[in-house]
């Protein structure tokens, strides 16, 4: 154990990263403010998109941390800090949610009590879809995520100094509690923030759909960051292609999983052909939306699938970086496709471009999180008892 620790020399990330991060956030904030001034309604939807982008990545990473503990995986231990940095989005979600909560009535049709009164279906759904309960759910869900984020990462960081093996055991227990809670909270979050945009619509697989995209995009960020950081010499030098291969395989698996779930959702609705379900897909099949629907099949499934299919590709640093960025773009497209059709107003090119400032700010935010986290924490969990085995991991 001590031998491997010697090889890791902590290196701070370059300050240029901080500049890039702030620059992107600056562009995002200015563009976002412009978007709100120009067309507040559309901006609210675009903001939600940026928010969901961050949420899915953060909570996906949090899930991956607990998965490592529960499964007793050691290959991912050398890069667990990268996962933890990615998951550090979660505590900020509650603050980032405030603009959405302020724009409640613009985004969520069901939040208008007078509309619900005259709508039979919404009236039936009102015990769940009402503002008070919504706020309670948001509070509980974010509180749980934040709590588990702090518990898991605090123990992990403590271990760097104390080398206390017992902390791993504690984290395994915490993870075992978190995973079922995650299943419920992630479903609730996906239903609340995205499915309820069309309050008449329902799909029982929607939570799983969100989960697949969430873990996939988290993996994409983690893979990109791991490869980049390893190349820059910020991670342990004994991390090799075999670790890349595992990341590549997981990316590949979740690309497949997303395709499987997305198709399952589509096929059941298409086959049953019930008007109360099909209208959601019809809205995405009209006008220029049809191109995005079709593009999604290629961008989100066929292209990353083909890139990652062969074994050498899953270990190739260049291909992995490309595939990760591609998948992040695909995830944005997916969120765009999920959220924006509900916005029925007129859009101009300027509005569209300004809408992009929210994802830009999100990317800047992730970069800054990495920068600041790396300053106070080791980028390798040097005290983890599984680290040595993890570094020795070979196919």
């Amino acid at each position: 154990m001590s031998q491997s620790n010697l090889n890791y020399i902590k290196k701070d990330l370059p300050t240029s990263l901080q500049k890039i991060g702030f620059l992107l956030i600056g562009i995002g904030v200015i563009g976002g403010a412009g978007a709100f001034l120009l067309n507040a309604e559309q901006a609210a939807f675009n903001y939600l998109l940026g928010f969901m982008f961050l949420m899915s990545i953060g909570v996906g990473a949090l899930f991956l941390i607990s998965l490592e503990y529960v499964a007793g995986a050691d290959w991912s231990t050398p890069l667990r800090r990268v996962i933890e940095f990615t998951a550090s989005i979660t505590p900020f979600l509650i603050i980032l949610a405030i603009p959405i909560l302020l724009n409640m009535h613009t985004l969520f049709h069901w939040s208008h009590t007078e509309v619900v009164e005259s709508d039979k279906i919404l009236k039936e759904k009102a015990p769940y879809l009402n503002q008070t309960f919504f706020f309670i759910r948001v509070a509980i869900v974010f509180a749980l995520w934040t709590l588990f984020y702090f518990l898991l990462t605090r123990n992990s960081r403590k271990q760097d100094i104390s080398k206390d093996q017992n902390l791993t055991r504690v984290n395994i227990r915490l993870s075992a509690v978190f995973i079922p809670l995650f299943a419920i909270t992630a479903s609730i979050a996906s239903i609340d923030w995205m499915m309820s945009l069309e309050p008449h619509w329902f799909s029982t697989i929607f939570g799983v759909y969100f989960f697949s995209g969430s873990v996939l995009s988290a993996l994409a960020v983690i893979t990109y960051a791991t490869v980049k950081l390893r190349e820059g010499g910020y991670l342990h030098p004994r991390m090799v292609k075999d670790h890349y291969y595992s990341l590549g395989s997981l990316l590949f698996v979740f690309v497949n999983f997303w395709g499987y779930i997305a198709f399952s959702q589509y096929m059941l609705i298409w086959y049953a052909n019930l008007p109360e379900e099909t209208f959601w897909f019809l809205a995405r099949w009209q006008g220029s939306w049809i191109y995005i629907s079709l593009a999604l099949i290629f961008v989100h499934f066929i292209v990353p699938y083909s890139i990652l299919l062969s074994q050498p590709a899953k270990m190739d640093a260049k291909k992995l970086k490309f595939a990760s960025l591609w998948i992040l773009f695909a995830h944005l497209l997916d969120l765009y496709w999920l959220i924006l059709p509900t916005f029925k107003g007129e859009s101009t090119l300027l509005n569209f471009v300004l809408g992009l400032s929210f994802p830009v700010a999100a990317v800047g935010g992730i970069i800054l999180l990495f920068y600041f986290n790396s300053k106070k924490t080791n980028m390798v969990p040097v005290g983890d008892p599984k680290l040595e085995r993890g570094l020795n991991f070979r196919l």
């Binding site: 096929m267 052909n273 074994q311 020795n392 196919l395």
Partner: protein, 388 residues
């Protein structure tokens, strides 16, 4: 005895995965090519230690997976759109989403089967299922808790002493010489084995037959025949007279049926008036029906010149003053009721058809007894329907 046997190779046993990785690496670096490693479970890092190139098996999987997809899609395309097009759930004949699950399954099926079969034939040299290291102590150990490495005798650098020394230097806990068996027999073709296969096949067939046809036999689905209603001509306890078949309630009128007031009466007291105007369609209907039903006895023109050659009493001419003076209702009455030997035509002719015939008889009557005025009238009109 050992001297006559041909040497297959020399095998060494090691205690730990680390030792075997080290051994494999050294043996590879020394330039040995024909050797193999045996371990109770997959040892991570072995491929690299042995410098194995990536397996080609993946290409077999890919090729068969893609053919699975193609076969499934083409097959469903052919059955569902060409051979037996059938509308299901109002979807188009070729509806891709419905075909995806089958395509997916067949892709996976062919990909996995071809991988296993490809592995067994290309890498394990099927049907050869025997190998010299089977039934050795070496094999026993590496199937339990030891890790083994065996250098084969056909390797270019094979030299017993050198190898023994190398193995010992690498910390082997036991070294064993492995020989080819006396005669190489392909056990799969042994009569005993084939006999066993036949017995298994017979047993499976018989027991399947007995299970499906005797033990688990289900009566074919015929519950649609069990219905609560009464069958024709059957009795019923429900009614006092035990008749299952009931008369309709008195005065019931069938849908679309117009009852005739003078049914069964000789002379209508006040004959009905004709509700149909002699329009062109009505008359051509009347002509058609008259020619089919009335003309055999009454003649094409109503002269009473029957075509029945005396087999039936000749009817009177329809141009008698009696018939001509009759009201339409009287003619109608004869069609419905019949008259003496003439039978009723109420079951063959609908109400509209009967009145159409009456109208047509009026045409025949007027044509046969045309007045001067009628002739002048006809002459005035241009003749259109005479061919030249």
């Amino acid at each position: 005895m050992e001297q006559n046997k041909k040497v297959f190779g020399i095998a060494a046993l090691y205690d730990s995965p680390n030792a075997i990785i080290k051994a494999a690496k050294t043996v590879t670096d020394k330039g040995y090519k024909n050797f193999d490693v045996h371990s109770p479970y997959p040892v991570h890092g072995m491929d690299k230690a042995m410098k194995l190139p990536p397996s080609k098996l993946g290409f077999v999987t890919l090729a068969f997976g893609l053919s699975g997809a193609a076969i499934a899609l083409l097959f469903m395309y052919w059955t569902m759109t060409i051979d037996y097009p059938m509308i299901i759930g109002g979807k188009p004949f070729f509806s891709l989403p419905a075909f995806i699950p089958v395509t997916f399954e067949l892709t996976v099926l062919l990909a996995t089967l071809s991988t296993v079969i490809g592995m067994v034939t290309f890498f394990f040299y099927f049907p050869n299922n025997s190998h010299p290291i089977h039934d050795t102590n070496y094999m026993k150990s590496v199937s339990i808790d030891k890790f083994g490495l065996c250098i084969e005798a056909d390797d270019e650098k094979f030299n017993e002493e050198e190898i023994n020394k190398l193995f010992t230097d690498l910390g082997a806990i036991k070294i064993e010489k492995i020989f080819f068996p006396d005669k190489l027999n392909v056990k799969i073709l042994e009569p005993k084995f084939i006999g066993l296969l036949l017995i298994v096949a017979a047993f499976v067939s018989v027991s399947t037959y007995l299970h499906l046809n005797k033990v688990l036999y289900l009566v074919p689905f015929n519950w649609m025949m069990d219905q609560g209603r009464l069958d024709v001509q059957s009795s019923s306890e429900l009614f006092g007279d035990k008749f299952g078949m009931r008369n309709p309630v008195k005065g019931t009128v069938a849908r679309g049926f117009m009852p005739y007031e003078y049914q069964g009466v000789n002379e209508p007291t006040s004959p009905l008036s004709n509700p149909y105007l002699p329009t062109k369609e009505n008359l051509s209907l009347g002509e058609k029906k008259y020619n089919s039903f009335c003309s055999p006895c009454h003649g094409n023109l109503g002269d009473g010149d029957s075509r029945l050659r005396g087999q039936f009493p000749l009817p009177p001419s329809l141009h008698s003053s009696k018939s001509r003076d009759w009201l339409d209702g009287n003619l109608y009455h004869v069609i419905v009721n019949g008259q003496n030997v003439m039978p009723s035509y109420s079951s063959q002719l609908s109400r509209e058809e009967r009145w159409a015939i009456v109208n047509y008889i009026r045409v025949l009557q007027r044509a046969k007894n045309a007045s001067e005025a009628d002739i002048q009238e006809i002459k005035k009109e241009p003749v259109t329907n005479v061919s030249e």
